[in-house]
């Protein structure tokens, strides 16, 4: 009898289900109307110096319609009470794909990264034609490196750092100041001789930049690392802003808002990339092309990124790396086991900062110009979003997330049909941060351990726990 009831009940519940779904979708639409009504329905525009309003009822209707229909469909399918939840025991399709394809992914991606300039040049039929693609590759790799650097802090040690851009800025300004002699020479007022501070080479400045950023990481980290997670986040955010404000206002030393221009360009270990007699092209007996420098820069950032990945992978196997992961999982347990949490946190903070400094140094040499505008909170947020989307702690995930978010957005810009759909002034890069923000919320709600890949602690007692970290509170399961 009970079985019969169970079988027939859904059929009888059909009409109320429809009514309920419609009612719920209607309410959701109403809320959406309230949320979007003022900001999408009206636009404030400046007409003749005074503010006026224009109306966008169609956009509003479309947005509310999307919410209504989407909610209705969800109510009738995924959230329907008649739907039997599929209980999956074994690994999902993605897990199986991950285990079979997984080992090949890393070498394949590395190979792609190494041969990318060659492929771009061959594919586009010429050095100068491939400039755009290789520039894009450099941009992506810079963010991959920044993501990996921040990953040490956020992903491995579980410290939320919202001021990561500060270390990027320290690295960039280190190179900018040491490579252009004037302000730093004035600052030290002839200390160690007039020529000592003049025009340091990139390869000397690079370790200096990392060192300075690491030291800054220690200085900033030391007082604040005792704070609990969200306080730490806000204080690092405040430090990031303080450094930016100092860069803007300390005009004598940093050039203020105007920044530092004409920073010396990268050389091939001392050999300049120019058309002169002793230039790179003449020395190797090939025709001069400005692309040589770009391709060289590509390999520099690739090497730096690989260094970051390599160091991280090795550190994870050392006691300090184990301590980072343990700290992420449960801080109180760590303290009970005698780990000096302050030192462990500080080492993670400084290591992450150091790689940020390397990336900053590279940024300065590539752009040839630094200004405080390049080091806003948006960059910190973007790097954090990449780490979160990639799966905190996962190397490959962060790389994929950086490539998709930076490269994907850049690609969208070139898609012609999008401008036809959304009008001529449509610029996808405007929507990048919007998508980043939305994706961060969505990831936290649905897959808090990352979309692309998840990373469990490297080491565990006896056996991997059956319950994955997604389903339990921090430090349980």
């Amino acid at each position: 009898m009970a079985v019969q009831l169970a079988d027939t009940a859904p059929a009888r519940a059909h009409t109320p289900l429809m009514a309920h779904a419609f009612k719920d979708a209607f309410l959701a639409g109403l809320v959406a109307l309230g949320l979007f009504g003022p900001l999408i329905g009206f636009e404030t525009i400046v007409i003749d110096g005074a503010l006026g309003l224009t109306y966008r009822p169609m956009t509003l209707a479309v947005m509310v319609g999307i919410i209504f229909v989407g909610r209705l469909i969800l109510n009738l399918t995924v959230w329907s009470p008649n739907r039997r939840p599929r209980i999956s025991t074994g690994p999902t399709v993605f897990d199986r794909m991950g285990t079979t394809v997984g080992p090949a992914v890393k070498p394949a991606l590395l190979g792609l990264a190494i041969f990318f300039p060659l492929l771009a040049v061959l594919g586009l039929g010429g050095l100068s034609e491939s400039r755009y693609l290789i520039d894009l590759g450099i941009l992506i790799l810079t963010y991959v490196m920044l993501g990996w650097g921040l990953n040490i802090v956020v992903g491995l040690a579980g410290l939320l750092d919202l001021g990561y851009v500060a270390f990027y800025a320290v690295g960039a300004y280190t190179y900018a100041l040491l490579a252009t002699s004037a302000p730093i020479n004035d600052f030290f007022a002839g200390l160690l001789g007039e020529t000592f501070w003049a025009n340091w080479a990139f390869w000397i400045c690079l370790p200096m930049a990392g060192l300075f950023a690491g030291v800054w990481g220690m200085i900033l980290g030391f007082p604040v690392l005792r704070l609990r997670g969200d306080y730490l986040a806000i204080v690092t955010l405040a430090f990031g802003e303080i450094i930016r404000l100092v860069l803007i206002n300390w005009v004598d030393f940093t050039g203020g808002g105007a920044g530092i221009a004409s920073i010396p360009r990268a050389t091939f270990f001392g050999i300049p990339f120019n058309a002169s007699e002793d230039g790179f092209a003449a020395l190797f007996g090939i025709p001069f092309d400005p692309m040589h420098r770009i391709i060289f820069l590509y390999f520099v950032i690739l090497a730096l990124a690989m260094l970051t990945a390599f160091v991280t992978v090795r550190l994870r196997k050392l006691p300090v790396g184990r301590a980072w992961e343990a700290l992420r999982e449960d801080e109180i347990a760590c303290r009970s086991l005698g780990i000096n949490t302050t030192n462990v946190k500080l080492s993670a903070f400084a290591t992450g900062a150091m790689f940020g400094g390397f990336a900053g140094c590279f940024f300065a040499v590539r752009a040839g110009f630094v200004s405080p505008e390049s080091f806003t909170f948006d960059i910190s947020a973007m790097i954090l979003a990449i780490v979160v989307l990639g799966g905190m702690g996962s190397q490959i995930g962060v790389a994929v997330a950086a490539a998709v978010m930076m490269g994907g957005m850049e690609m969208l810009r070139n898609l012609g049909f999008l401008t036809q759909v959304f009008g001529n002034d449509f610029d996808p890069s405007l929507y990048r941060m919007l998508l980043f923000g939305f994706a961060m919320v969505a990831i936290m709600v649905w897959k808090p351990r990352g979309l692309v890949s998840t990373r469990d602690p490297t080491i565990f007692l006896k056996e991997r726990k059956a319950v994955s970290g997604d389903h339990v509170k921090e430090g349980h399961g």
């Binding site: 806000i234 430090f239 100092v246 206002n249 929507y431 919007l434 936290m444």
Partner: protein
């Protein structure tokens, strides 16, 4: 002396605005123990709602009485901002209760980025100059060249803030909603066992916080005469500083902290350097957290397993 009194007036005005925003931070922190990073951007959204409503009232409906318009704007902004914050809590924070430690914070940062860029995309990246609304001033002192003035808009800000805080105080101390809120703050599980609808109470906390932020938003728009999509970030951090300085979780502390931050900022700008006023505020945040994490009126926090 005249400069001092003038800065005192300006500082208290600014402090009232910060105090109103800070209450939103401190209430949410008290009840669910998270820093609602998006609160500053909720405040920014409220300035835009207020701006749109004001333009609608004055240019389209042709209301000439500025005070009537402001009153309507206040109510409308409070409604829409509360709705926004309610929706944010439902979508971005409620599913994360019991998730791992950093999850709500990251979600809140995402929400903050989303809101700022949503406004940028929908309203454009440019500054919106708001037509001046209340321009009359009272001259308090006049000593040969330097006038100490009290603008009517400053009076409005202080009076509205004081009135709202009194109403809010009554709400928290005397009503059943306030009792439920304080109960959830002390022990959420126990409150649930005693028949308090915890989800409902938390939602209402977000609604009240957003309503107060909306008041701050209307006042901010009226006082500075500008609305900008990135204007939520810095006031948000400063209001959070105020909440921390006053002792996070403590409501009188938030107001006190707000006033202090407002005063420190104006005095710093007047006597030291205006360029470093944000640095001063951010440094106070760091110094307070490092040396006095419980704040002026807060309770020390004990971390339990």
């Amino acid at each position: 002396m005249e400069v001092f009194i003038q800065q005192l007036i300006n500082g208290l005005t600014l402090g009232s605005i910060y105090g109103l925003i800070a209450i939103g931070y401190t209430m949410v922190f008290g009840i669910i123990g998270m820093v609602n990073f998006a609160h500053g951007d909720v405040f920014m959204v409220s300035t835009f709602v207020a701006l749109i409503c004001f333009l609608l009232l004055t240019t389209v409906l042709g209301i000439t009485s500025i005070f009537l318009a402001l009153a309507i704007v206040l109510v409308v902004a409070m409604f829409f901002t509360s709705l926004t914050n309610w929706a944010i809590e439902r979508v971005a924070y409620r599913p994360l209760r019991g998730s791992f430690r950093l999850a709500p914070m990251i979600s809140a940062i995402g929400m903050s980025i989303f809101l700022a860029n949503f406004v940028q995309v929908s309203q454009g990246p440019r500054n919106k100059p708001v037509p001046p609304m209340v321009t009359d001033v009272i001259v308090l002192m006049d000593s040969g060249g330097y006038q100490v003035t009290l603008a009517w808009k400053q009076v409005i800000i202080m009076v509205v803030t004081a009135a709202l805080l009194m109403g809010f105080w009554y709400l928290v101390q005397k009503t059943s909603l306030g009792r439920a809120q304080r109960a959830c703050e002390q022990d959420r599980k126990m409150a649930a066992l005693l028949g308090i609808n915890v989800d409902h109470t938390i939602s209402l906390t977000f609604v009240i916080g957003a309503a107060l932020a909306a008041v701050a938003g209307v006042m901010y728009m009226m006082y500075y005469g500008v609305a900008h999509f990135a204007d939520g970030f810095v006031p948000g951090v400063k209001a959070f500083t105020a909440a921390v300085l006053g002792g996070i979780g403590s409501l009188p502390g938030a107001v006190l902290g707000g006033l202090l931050i407002g005063l420190i900022e104006t005095f710093w700008s007047a006597y030291f350097s205006i360029e470093y006023k944000d640095v001063a505020a951010f440094s106070i945040l760091a110094i307070t957290l490092i040396f006095m994490p419980q704040g002026l009126l807060g309770r020390p926090e004990v971390e339990k397993v």
